[in-house]
Symmetry: C2
Subunit: 515 residues, 2 copies
């Protein structure tokens, strides 16, 4: 949104420049023709006046933006972030003028500093973003803000050389409480340490420097990041350590109100997800990005009230959470699993439907259904073994109080709405049993999942992308066929794209993991 205004501001500026230059050259070219000169200047005067008005209007608009988005939870803090403030022009390639500029300001000799391979733990509210991972079609991603901050603080020279890996890829509107990335950052540790690599031909004078404490990574980054993206911890890690491939398990949470859902039935059904299954009927098959293998392991899946005491209650306004822990997840997997649970909770499907969908021999093609909406989903935790997180209590407390301020606003607004809702119920209002958490419009007559038209099969999808050159078939020595990502692959620009082959270990071939 802000990017939009900034671009509009740019255009205005350009228009004004063009106008001024245009008019001036005009008046010179015509200075022999007095009438036309007068006409020129009067007309150009009027136009400049008008452009001025437009600029003012846009100025007003921008401030109104901030004004009006301040109360809105997902914007409030972002709008007042130094990082986003400082970016006045976003170029089409998603780079920012200011970062380009800051690059020019002073040549920074990264070669003379140690580098350190570290893990960073991020929390962010995804509601205002187009997703975590950088995309071609938008600049409004968490990763884009993160790299702006890393460049601004001179902790990296550029993304390409930063040895960057992310743990989970969250989708548009999805939040995270423990997203983890690994990356090489500039370090102050000239006398080495876990993950530290010293600069080549380091002169002995520097080497003999007394050891100082590491750069305050968390503080440095939080000072320039938008307020709805916070670094919680950092940890030094071994050189080869990858946030993506060394993650032991991921935990997602999906929050929802009871409404008219049979939550006990949902809690019982959720258990059926546990174990190792082929989830091709419960995800978006991302074959185009080389995801050809849909077996995933779910360690636990539960549905429970957010407040324990609400077990006894039957209030439709109680909040519940679907919590699922797995080794790795497929694209849109959690939102598809949630969508099916919501159908069960509405008694539109029996809990057995889960077993049906997991039985890909019996049901090899995914029936068409809408997934659950994005904003209630949170990548709540990413588990790694043996990491020593360097928690900075002061920073944690800052984040905590900013979250509390934020929570106060949305909780109070929720209760203003609840007060009105209950008021209308007291006046005899009858609430519909509609479930607001499923995308798309809802059919009058429900059509059971197994009676619906199905999506393309995996094989036909593969053929589709092989034809388009985004995947390539290859004959192995022993005659078995493997499929590789082709040259035309959409994500070949991606920093962390291992070449995809069905021989690569199951849990790690996905270029695009869950939302």
């Amino acid at each position: 949104m802000l990017a939009g205004t900034r671009r509009a501001a740019c255009l205005l500026q350009q228009a004004k420049d063009l106008l001024e230059s245009g008019v001036l050259s005009g008046t010179y070219r015509h200075k022999r023709n007095v009438n036309s000169y007068i006409y020129q200047s009067s007309m150009s005067g009027a136009l400049l006046q008008r452009i001025k008005e437009l600029e003012d209007e846009l100025e007003k608009l921008r401030s109104q933006f901030k004004e009006s988005t301040r109360p809105a939870e997902d914007m409030e803090i972002k709008s007042c972030s130094p990082a986003s403030e400082s970016l006045n022009c976003i170029t089409s390639d998603g780079n920012t003028r200011s970062t380009k500029k800051s690059g020019k300001e002073r040549q920074f000799d990264f070669g003379s500093h140690p580098r350190r391979h570290v893990a960073l733990k991020l929390a962010y509210l995804g509601w205002a973003y187009q997703g975590f991972a950088v995309q071609e079609n938008t600049d409004n991603t968490v990763e884009a803000r993160l790299f702006e901050a890393l460049l601004k603080t001179r902790l990296i020279q550029d993304r390409q050389s930063s040895n960057y890996h992310r743990c989970g890829r969250t989708d548009k509107g999805v939040s995270a409480f423990s997203q983890v990335i690994t990356i090489d950052l500039r370090s102050s540790q000239f006398c080495g340490g876990l993950g530290v690599s010293l600069p080549e031909n380091l002169d002995p004078g520097t080497k003999s420097k007394a050891c100082t404490s590491e750069l305050p990574y968390v503080k440095m980054l939080n000072r320039v990041l938008p307020q709805d993206i916070r670094i919680l911890d950092w940890a030094p890690v071994e050189q080869g350590f990858s946030a993506r491939f060394d993650c032991q398990s991921r935990t997602y949470r999906y929050y929802f109100p009871r409404g008219f859902l049979d939550v006990e039935l949902m809690a019982d059904a959720a258990k059926r997800y546990k174990g190792t299954h082929d989830f091709r009927n419960l995800c978006k098959m991302d074959v185009g990005n080389g995801v050809l293998q849909f077996e995933r392991t779910i360690l636990s899946a539960s549905v429970r009230p957010v407040q324990p005491q609400q077990v006894s209650s039957t209030d439709q306004y109680d909040l519940f959470v679907f919590e699922i822990k797995g080794l790795a997840f497929l694209y849109h997997q959690v939102r598809c699993m949630m969508a099916v649970l919501l159908l069960i909770g509405q008694k539109l499907e029996a809990p057995e439907i889960i077993d049906e969908l997991l039985d890909v021999k019996k049901n090899p093609r995914k029936p068409q259904y809408s997934m659950a909406v994005d904003y209630p989903l949170v990548l709540y935790d990413c588990h790694f073994e043996g990491l020593i997180w360097q928690q900075v209590m002061e920073e944690v407390n800052h984040v905590l109080s900013s979250l509390q301020r934020h929570w106060t606003q949305s909780a109070v607004k929720a209760h203003v709405l609840l007060g009105m809702t209950r008021g209308l119920e007291e006046r005899g209002g009858v609430s519909s049993n509609h479930c607001w958490l499923v995308e798309g419009s809802r059919q009058k007559n429900y059509r059971p999942l197994l009676e619906r038209p199905c999506c393309e099969s995996l094989e036909s999808r593969i053929n589709h992308f092989v034809k388009r050159g985004r995947l390539e078939r290859e004959e192995g020595q022993n005659g078995d066929e493997t499929i590789h990502k082709g040259k035309k692959s959409k994500h070949s620009h991606n920093a962390c794209s291992p070449s995809v082959s069905s021989e690569i270990p199951k849990q790690s071939i996905d270029l695009k993991e869950e939302d």
Copy 2:
């Protein structure tokens, strides 16, 4: 906010028009000068091109607006309202082009229709608005949207002739569940009825018409109002009946989380507000608008948990509500009363401070303090005797389900934030005991209310406005002095401004009542 974009769009249009006309007249005036003609058209071409780009950019911006504000509770519904959609240009006086235009489209003969004096009950979310009452400096008020709808549906000819009264005046960001207005609307009741006045020289043919049911006021208005403003009921009323002067009592609610507040102490202290007191130290003295009398009667005041079971709990994330019922309220009175309760809840003041502030002999001047923030405040109810509300169940159910959709979003987001907050607490995060519900920044060292600098006294305020001619002193026959609103009075344009005098009954002299 939308109004802003609309105005910007207008300016662009005007700029374009001016440019086109300017260029044309230019090319005619100069048609003898070929060079200048060519130069003209090439330059104007470039400019038009640029303006076009700007327009497109603004178009994009507007849609981004809706995109980005759809999830935000207070905008979401508004953005998709037919009413606001249809208004493409707002003129400075707050009238809309579209309504002007529709006025021209077809002359509508109001004189040939019966009029009916009715009460309308409104619910609205005030978060996106600059307040209820129409203001000179902004078009973004609930009342502005309401009158757009009344004009669009031809239920009134214009505001001036509509015999309009409002019950309460809510402030920027304040919501209402039962705002009540009285107004004369076009009616279908040619054979009369409560509040109906028939057109003069009504031809007997029309008079003998069979009686039909009244126009579907609620449905008609809700179809064109923004979704965050809804009509709940209507009632036919006697000619002289006024929403403002015949209101028996008003009930406000202020929602807040427990946090570190001593809610029991607050509940006990709240009782001290009960009764008839002079509230000049607990409101914004609006002397400039002729408010010279600050005695008000509070019928009840309570602080209680929104969920009864939370009485036993001590969770800082429980929500509470301060509910106050009174005959009438002063400007900012509830937010000042709440601010003092919050100081008591934080143990910064003793409950006795309320008695001190209500004792205007002892403390004639208001100590300087910040009031409580706006968004948790709701005008929850307005009581009238003997009104027969014509509730339309179908409409009530529509409103209910739209509120529930809305609630789902903000409740879920609140719990996403709460989940993170609790997560940080589990990691040892210590939450500050800061209270987020008071405006302005908070001092490090608390200064007791009675030791603070005081605001101007009532008398000096009166003198101030008498000097500026906004108030006038007058000698009564028996020598007693009365004060009238002067000619220069700011609000003299206001539709419902009785001449102000301290002889007018206590509860009805205020031109500007609470938020």
